[in-house]
Amino acid sequence: MQIFTCPFCGPRDETEFHFAAEAGKKRPMPAETATDDEWAEYLYMNSASRGKAQEVWLHVTCGEFFLMTRDTVTRDVTAVTPLPGRNA
């Protein structure tokens, strides 16, 4: 059982969190400019990297999304930060 640290609530049990997306994935805006292939790439393709990964997670109990940098092999969490757009 992992312990993740929500930037707003502190360390909590992993069952309180949901994975949201890989970080840095840009949604084509407006989406109609994307080809079918580009759109499918955005929707379905993940790098699922082995080792260091940067991901967006949701702390379900407080409703805040945040960036988590972790290692998918050792499961070490090295950084948690609020989303960049947030005026925290």
Binding site: M1, R27, A31, L58, F65, T74, R86, N87
Partner: protein
């Protein structure tokens, strides 16, 4: 019959307290402090069970959870617990032990003749043979004959096992010499230490091997360690198994307690020391599975702790120094001991022991018990064979924590690679068997200061013992799953050379002992047969649990009503008082019908009453997600399929929330209460996920400071009044006048007002097609609203209706339930909502996906209604098929009811190109028969929508 009880030796037993028990119905007697295994050994009972596949007689082998054979169904107070390992529980008064996998009992098993057919039952036998006529035909027969104990359906242990989270500075796993030294060293430096061990008391192998530490008896050292741990605020958990190492340094521990419920501990420590010791390996010779062949270490364990002696004429076959103290102790206890060592260069002969050097045991004789042995071609009279093939370190937790193993020639074993897991390793688990080394390593692992505890120096020497593939006769590798050397040869020959394949093909190590005494031999044999080294051959993956853990321990208190607790209505008590029957709908416990008659009949009556006069139902679970702020409209435009910024304050709009894939995630109504305040009325089962979709867009797409999302579903109660007399009911209830003025509150509008001094929100939206009012109050005022509406209901002869009736009413109108009438492919235009897709030009969630080639197909499954002749509704889920040509599924029935107001069955379905098929007929396939249906519009009742305003 050759085991016996020594007259004075035995530190664990209380000879003043005899404990009667039965084994396979025959009476026996042990002492308080015995385990079932020690009591049976001392009673001279040898055949304790039958093997899994060949039904060979099997006896006691070991002393802990490595025991493969002594497994019983244990009955106490009329309740039977299956597959209890006789070595790991305490004997209790009047325990009834029943051997497993035997009929009628272990001594006289009638399927023992199976063994005669062993040549026809090779490894992979099931896969090769029983595929012939389909496995399903054979499986019941094989299951009856194989397998272990029998479940007692009447024995349901209570859900009374508490679970605790704990933290400490140092967790020490194993309380043998190394663990004690580590714990003592850390505690002396003021660290809070938890010392956990699965034996009833600390000491590990010191308990039966003894030893002097720092010039005193080991017991003094142990008492000193316990004192230091306690003084520093630590804790000693005996009879507790650490059964798993999990992510982020979590360890799970199962604490067994006599007379109170067991406990589960989730322990996180700043540091962990692994001192789990090692398990003795068997030796491999013909008939090495005969009862009366025991681990030498176990024999010493039973002698020292319980005075239970394995036999009288004992042959001890070994290749290492660890067996010499065993031979000495048995000789001293009065046994006739012959020590047969494969080595020429051995330690000194113990007093009173016959000693054969460079001597190899090749064969055991006997039918149900050892009657003789062959050593170097010479027959040796013996009733008991003790063996030692070396030791296998218990590295499980190190590997579960991600650690790797290295080959250590000195100890002839795989030991933890330093630094490959976060655990610090000490003692026998590290291949360090001598007391002095175990103490030194433990002291270092506990970051001890000052000198380590001292003991007599001297390491054990090991000769690498391996199975000999050229030896004649059947050599057992895994006694619990009946895997022989021949099976491993066959696996190698057939190409199953990877250890993971070997394991699955032969079932090596897959039994309840997890191959603790067997895996090494299987691995070594495969290495030899394939010309690889043992590290090259590798090990199978170690996974939790370390030993079998009762599910009740993992489940803890979560069972029955608290397993997955449903959400409850504020008015549950009032509904119950009206005789409501409750069911779970989308995670909420809601009235299904009111009354005690047949549920289907009541639902029909309730649905009809709601159409004819007025029905009331509790709609409190409807989502109430407030979206507030100057950015609210923009946010909802982006998250919704229909534009919401164009909605006027006081009005409501039905719409969808899509995922980015364009699939309908939820439907519902959005109210605009004022310019910057909306309420999203998500469906009851999707409220939580819709909130998260809104939050994600708010935080990731927009300026989060411009809007605020607040899910207040649980804070409000909603009662819905529906039917032609719904307005009369509001008037009778004396609700504010503005509510029943259609000019002020037309269909699809909402108003907030005050009633009896608290807020009241009324919305004209309809889930039934009839004039309806959703009346919402803060949850604490729900009883007052209920009383007012209930009094008025009686005046206008209305009826409370449950969810079953609501389902009928909404289906009559073709109103969908997302997830029931839609699936993971349904897009809004499949439901007839194409306007937004065609006209909206601004960006919204899922829009791009509505224009892919897949989304443009004309044969997409679309929502339609179905008409049938007769009075029996279609089965939900039945597939629709062409009436002619090749049969294939064109779609399926999603909702199906008998409509009381129409007097005929109605149904909704998703059908390929459904809207173009309206007016045509299709087949409906159910239980091998094909009926006929007519495709029609999804709205079966009041297609001109007059009743909304009636």
């Amino acid at each position: 019959m050759s085991g016996w009880r020594h007259g004075s030796v035995g530190s664990q037993i209380d000879r003043a307290t005899p404990l009667p028990f039965t084994f396979d119905g025959r009476p026996g007697s042990g002492f308080a402090g015995d385990t079932p295994a020690s009591a049976l050994l001392a009673s001279g009972i040898r055949v304790l069970g039958r093997s899994f596949k060949y039904h060979r007689p099997r006896g006691l082998w070991g002393m802990g959870n490595e025991e493969p054979n002594a497994i019983f169904d244990v009955t106490e107070d009329g309740r039977t617990t299956p597959n209890v390992r006789a070595t790991t529980v305490m004997l209790r008064r009047n325990m009834a032990l029943r051997s497993v996998n035997t009929a009628p009992d272990a001594a006289r098993d009638r399927t023992g003749m199976l063994d005669l057919f062993n040549r026809f039952l090779p490894g992979g036998f099931y896969y090769k043979t029983f595929m012939a006529f389909g496995w399903m035909r054979w499986e019941p027969m094989i299951r009856r004959m194989a397998g272990l104990g029998r479940l007692d359906p009447g024995h349901c242990p209570p859900a009374d096992i508490p679970q605790f989270n704990a933290r400490c500075d140092l967790l020490v796993i194993g309380a043998g010499a190394a663990g004690l030294a580590a714990a003592r060293a850390a505690a002396r430096n003021g660290r809070e230490v938890w010392l956990v061990d699965d034996a009833p008391e600390p000491g590990g192998s010191l308990r039966w091997r003894g030893g002097d530490i720092d010039g005193g008896d080991w017991l003094e050292f142990t008492r000193d360690a316990i004192g230091a741990i306690t003084a520093a605020g630590g804790r000693i958990l005996s009879g507790t198994t650490i059964w798993g190492a999990f992510d982020h340094g979590l360890f799970a521990a199962w604490e067994r307690r006599d007379g109170s419920p067991d406990r589960l501990w989730r322990i996180r420590a700043a540091e962990t020391v692994l001192a789990t010791g090692a398990v003795e390996r068997p030796l491999w010779f013909a008939n090495n599975d005969l009862p009366g062949i025991l681990s030498a270490e176990a024999a010493l364990h039973y002698l020292s702790l319980y005075g239970a002696v394995a036999g009288r004429r004992i042959l001890l076959a070994t290749g290492n120094d660890a067996s010499y103290p065993v031979a000495a102790a048995l000789a001293q206890a009065g046994c006739d001991v012959t020590l047969a060592d494969v080595r020429a260069d051995t330690p000194a002969t113990p007093d009173g022991v016959g000693h054969l050097r460079a001597a190899r045991l090749t064969h055991a004789h006997g039918r149900n018990s050892v009657a003789g042995a062959v050593v170097d071609g010479r027959i040796i009279e013996t009733d008991t064979i003790l063996v030692s093939g070396g030791y296998t370190p218990s590295v499980h937790l190190h590997c579960q924590a991600g650690g790797k193993l290295d080959w250590d020639t000195g100890s002839d074993s795989l030991i933890p690679r330093p630094g490959s897991s976060a655990l610090r390793v000490a003692g026998a688990v590290n291949g360090s068997f001598s007391l002095a080394r175990a103490l030194a390593e433990g002291h270092a692992a506990g970051r001890g200061t000052g000198p380590a505890p001292r003991a007599a120096a001297g390491d054990w020497q090991f000769f690498p013992m391996r199975p000999d593939p050229d030896l004649r006769g059947r050599q057992w590798i895994d006694p619990q799953n009946d895997v022989t050397l021949k099976d491993i040869k066959l696996a190698a020959q057939e190409g199953y050379r990877s250890v993971e394949h070997l394991k699955r093909y032969t079932t090596l190590g897959m039994a309840t002992d997890q191959g603790r005494s067997a895996n090494f031999a299987g691995l070594a044999t495969m290495a030899a047969l394939t010309g690889r080294t043992i590290p090259e051959t590798g090990t199978t993956t170690y996974r939790p649990p370390f030993s079998p853990v009762p599910l009740g321990v993992i489940g803890g208190l979560r069972r029955g009503a608290v397993f997955n607790a449903p959400k409850r209505l504020p008015l549950e008590i009032a509904h119950k008082a009206r005789g409501a029957m409750f069911r779970e709908y989308g995670g909420w416990l809601r009235p299904s019908v009111y009354g005690t008659d047949d549920e289907a009949v009541l639902a029909q009556q309730e649905a009809l009453a709601a159409r004819k006069s007025v029905g009331l139902y509790d709609a409190s679970p409807l989502g109430k997600i407030e979206v507030i702020g100057p950015g609210a409209a923009e946010l909802l435009d982006y998250c919704g399929y229909l534009r919401l910024s164009t909605l006027k304050p006081g009005r409501a709009r039905y719409g969808f929330v899509l995922g980015e894939t364009g699939i309908v995630h939820d439907d519902g109504v959005v109210f605009r209460l004022s310019e910057n305040r909306f309420v999203v009325s998500a469906s009851s089962s999707h409220a939580a996920s819709v909130r998260m979709i809104l939050e994600e867009a708010r935080q990731d797409v927009f300026d989060p400071a411009k809007s605020f999302i607040h899910d207040v579903t649980a804070g409000f109660a909603t009662l819905t009044v529906t039917g032609p007399k719904s307005r009369d009911l509001l008037i009778a209830a004396n609700l504010p006048e503005a509510l029943y003025d259609d000019a002020k509150l037309p269909h699809m509008s909402v108003t907030e007002t005050f009633w009896n001094g608290h807020s009241l929100r009324v919305a004209r939206v309809s889930f039934t097609g009839d004039r309806s009012y959703e009346v919402t109050v803060p949850a604490r005022h729900a009883p007052a609203l209920y009383s007012a509406l209930e009094a008025a209901r009686q005046e206008v002869s209305g009826r409370w209706i449950g969810m079953e009736a609501v389902m009928i009413l909404r289906a009559e109108k073709g109103f969908i339930l997302v997830g029931k009438d839609t699936d993971g492919l349904t897009m809004p235009h499949d439901l007839g909502w194409q306007a937004s897709r065609e006209k909206r030009k601004d960006e919204y969630l899922g829009r791009r996906s509505l224009f892919t080639a897949e989304a443009r197909r004309t044969d997409r499954r679309q929502l339609v209604g179905l008409e049938i002749d007769g009075v029996t509704p279609l089965p939900t889920g039945a597939h629709l098929v062409p009436l002619e040509g090749q049969r294939r599924s064109l779609g399926f029935v999603t909702s199906s009811y008998f409509s009381p107001i129409l007097g005929r069955p109605i149904a909704l379905a998703l059908v390929e190109g459904g809207r173009n098929r309206i007016g045509t007929e299709l087949g409906v396939f159910h239980l091998g028969k094909i009926g006929r249906v007519r495709i029609c519009d999804s709205c079966a009742f009041d297609p001109t929508w007059e009743r909304l305003h009636a």
